[in-house]
Symmetry: C2
Subunit: 356 residues, 2 copies
């Protein structure tokens, strides 16, 4: 399959590029996209780069009814030397196939997908913004296209990659967010799809997110679906706490997404000789640590926001404010180091960046 060639059709008219200062997350798309089809018996075929355009599907397609789909999120950066850098893209392709396995979607050739991604970015290279905090967001995704209303895995799919020049995920930039600890709604449970990057997890999260927003909180902290006491994720990010000098993050338990940023932060902390532990953490423990003056920092991590410091938690009518609602020292250092490795401003001692 790696031998497959990619047909390239260039856009005859190019769209106007947005002003970098007005960029928001995920609303503007580049001139081209990648598309490849899967048909049972034939495998993945017809790989092509073509002008960004709407897709046409039968209204009975499985994606519209049973949500059989997976996706990934990645970023590309343009260095001062005009080099295009990706951040650990092989991890995303690997995870895409793990998600495929859970959702009964045929595996993709990771190497081929990565080469297709690189070719697409090269075609749309002039869309990569270079201003502080900006990047080219990459969204690979697979949708099920068989027109069939029986509940079963589709026999046809589309694998697509679209690109979006983005500013910071949060309009406010890197500043502490207020988090609502969710006691009622559940994002995922062990045995469910929580560790896969699939639509249903996000659909399930919208309601709690909306209620939190009405109360003035920008994200939700998810607890485990069984005992509703263990911390899982925050919004669509992994979460870290610094307690009395030690960094802790929930251990991967089958319902938490294995974030690429999460893994990189754990490696970075170890590299810096800062103690870091993956384990079960109760929300009670976090509030207790705050009471004892030991909760030094908390932050979310993910591709979109990179690091999102947390300034406040609301749980069961109690509010705790962290670090005077200012970005913590560690969160700042992690954000600077990771983004500077990502955009090539500092040396990458881990071999994380991949040049396109």
């Amino acid at each position: 399959m790696s031998e497959q060639t990619i047909t390239v059709t260039l856009a005859t008219e190019k769209k106007a590029k947005p002003d970098a200062s007005t960029l928001v997350f995920g609303k503007t798309f580049t001139d081209h996209m990648f598309m490849m089809d899967y048909t049972e018996g034939k495998g993945w075929h017809d790989a092509q780069i073509l002008p960004y355009q709407p897709i046409t599907l039968d209204p009975a397609s499985v994606i519209f009814h049973y949500g059989q789909t997976v996706f990934e999120g990645m970023k590309a950066y343009l260095t001062k030397e005009e080099k295009v850098l990706l951040f650990r893209p092989e991890k995303n392709m690997e995870r895409l196939n793990k998600s495929n396995e859970r959702l009964c979607i045929p595996a993709i050739d990771e190497e081929f997908a990565l080469s297709a991604l690189k070719q697409l970015i090269t075609v749309d290279k002039d869309w990569i913004p270079t201003e502080e905090g900006t990047s080219l967001y990459i969204r690979p995704f697979i949708i099920s296209t068989q027109p069939y209303l029986g509940v079963a895995a589709s026999i046809s799919y589309k694998f697509m990659i679209i690109l979006s020049p983005v500013g910071s995920y949060y309009k406010e930039g890197v500043k502490p967010v207020k988090i609502f600890v969710e006691n009622e709604y559940v994002r995922a449970v062990s045995g469910g799809t929580g560790s896969a990057k699939t639509a249903g997890n996000y659909a399930a999260s919208l309601k709690a997110q909306q209620i939190a927003a009405e109360k003035g909180y920008s994200q939700v902290l998810w607890l485990d679906g069984v005992e509703k006491k263990y911390i899982e994720e925050v919004g669509a990010m992994n979460v870290f706490f610094k307690i009395n000098g030690e960094v802790v993050t929930p251990v991967l338990n089958g319902s938490i997404l294995e974030g690429v940023t999460r893994g990189s932060i754990i490696e970075l902390l170890k590299h810096w000789d800062i103690p870091v532990t993956e384990r079960k953490i109760t929300v009670e423990e976090i509030f207790e640590a705050h009471k004892n003056g030991e909760l030094e920092e908390a932050f979310g991590t993910g591709t979109a926001a990179v690091i999102s410091p947390i300034g406040e938690f609301f749980w069961n009518e109690q509010v705790i404010v962290l670090n005077n609602n200012e970005t913590g020292e560690l969160a700042k250092k992690l954000y600077d180091t990771i983004t500077n490795i990502q955009n090539g401003k500092i040396e990458d001692p881990f071999g994380w960046t991949v040049e396109v």
Copy 2:
């Protein structure tokens, strides 16, 4: 909104109708479909009946990434007197709005949607098959169409209704199915989306279904996501057991779908003075009842299959066979009564059927 008019564009060419004897579930669609758009600030608008055709969406549409969508399943029957009957359609429209609420999708006008549905069926009336066990399956669904990669409720939607002439849901017709009790994978959990009719629940179910099929079982029995001991649903159906003369079914707990067929069966049993109880049921209790010779019948219920008798359960390496793997007396009586009410062959003492 009920004042809204529906623009009708008829197909210039009609498709050939399939032979009723070859009909399977959900693979053939009629000549027309209903479509209505929602835009923030404008509400639901542009209601139309138009030729069945592919729909065109931006690849960044929310539906492809975050699965914000809901659906319903209903059936229409043509009586010997050429009357078209629906079965409790107001229940489905009511549930559609309950699902909308959970998924942060704007409510539809139930009355208008029902009148649109009736008009669509009238246009495609000659597609309703009349052979034993056949009907016109109706699939209303709503998809989120805003091209935006931030995780948030969409600001635009499409509400569609498509129609499919169907035979029996199971190729084998009404005969007992073999059920695999699932200990590992979970369909839904309290606080999740299990009681809404939304794509993610079905996507989550595919893997367990595939594993069960490989072992020779046609459906999965889902246990609760917390203790993995209480019975929730079977496949995409509700489940009933007859134990020592009493009928029991899992009580609605927030992660079980409130089936229209389930509710009708409970009413019917009460009408027949057969004891019926909604309560928590462990899988252990079912196996114990079988051991004591008290498990008389088990069956799934849902719009697609109506009643699906269960002939065998596999759980933790134990197998129990019910009623010599034959359709039980009660399942047969329920199936005959409900389908005969649905297709107008017998009187409907409950006012369940609605004429189009």
